[in-house]
Symmetry: C2
Subunit: 190 residues, 2 copies
């Protein structure tokens, strides 16, 4: 049964890879980007250094893979939140709230060494584009329905939303994030 | 007349200092931060290198002085715009528009070498605090008048405004900046 065997191998490799990404993110948040070594990662992941090097050439490559996984998970979460909400208005509010909650946990570290390293990641540009398109489409739907303003292009309004909601990065509580979403949505009404 | 003589010397020193800041900002925008030398600055400012070193120890110190002068001028401009507008609503709209226009010209270079160098400048933190207080006070005035929402604290609304208006950094035209201000203000209505 060669197919099953290959699937087992593949599942094993994925779980080792995930464990490497998890422990690297942990170590970097504990010690800072420059202090983390491949040996520490191998040790905490419970694998040999030689095995680790079969997966990744260096700490930076692991962090980029971790970041790519985070971004993919965030976009998948936003799409899921959108698809589970009812009506154009409900979908927009659900996506903006979910985005602001993500921004609160991820943008709080702006200006740090890790943040400037990850900012150079080309994944960020693609994800940002994808996100803008998702929000733009929801705004266009609302403008067509008459529930949102139609005097400003949806792409411009999406740009406004993403910047306004980035304010969540400095907010102290989830309640404050919900107030920010309410204020941001109020700017979109006709 | 020792006093007048001192004033003449002081005025001369200020004009040399201003010329140094101006040519340094020009050279950095032409060539990038790392390429500019003290010799180039002295040459373009029309002074000797020895004279230049009496004013500033290195290019970074000149850029920080230039940045401090820019920030001071921007804050003075915002205060002037506020004081010349009529009514709480007029003052808020005037200040937000002026801020967005400044953000359009200064935030467009985010992610550049110059921007990350200047971001570490401690002037930025003080100016940001000053700006937040100015906008917060205008928002509190509007909330007391009943022209602005009073269900969210003025400091939180000021945070929303500054983030939303930072979207001006990527806008292609002044007309788009005015639309952004309109949308941002709509979020502040009761």
């Amino acid at each position: 049964m060669p197919k099953l065997w290959n699937e087992t191998i593949e599942a094993h490799r994925r779980s080792v890879r995930d464990a490497i990404l998890d422990v690297t993110a942990e170590l970097v948040s504990e010690q800072g980007l420059r202090a983390v070594t491949m040996s520490q990662i191998a040790e905490r992941a419970g694998i040999g250094r030689a095995t680790l090097y079969k997966y990744f050439p260096d700490v930076e490559a692991i962090l980029l893979a971790w970041h790519g996984r985070q971004i993919t998970a965030h976009l998948a979460h936003l799409a899921e939140v959108r698809d589970q909400a009812d009506g154009a208005d409900g979908r927009l509010e659900a996506v903006l709230t979910a985005y602001a909650l993500i921004a609160r946990t991820t943008h709080g570290h702006h200006g740090t060494e890790l943040s400037s390293f990850l900012h150079r990641d080309e994944h960020v540009g693609h994800a940002d584009q994808h996100l803008r398109e998702m929000i733009r489409d929801l705004l266009a739907e609302g403008a067509a329905n008459g529930t949102l303003r139609n005097d400003v292009a949806p792409a411009e309004l999406a740009n406004y939303c993403l910047h306004a909601l980035a304010a969540a990065g400095t907010l102290p509580s989830k309640a404050a994030v919900h107030r920010l979403v309410t204020v941001t949505l109020a700017g979109l009404r006709p």
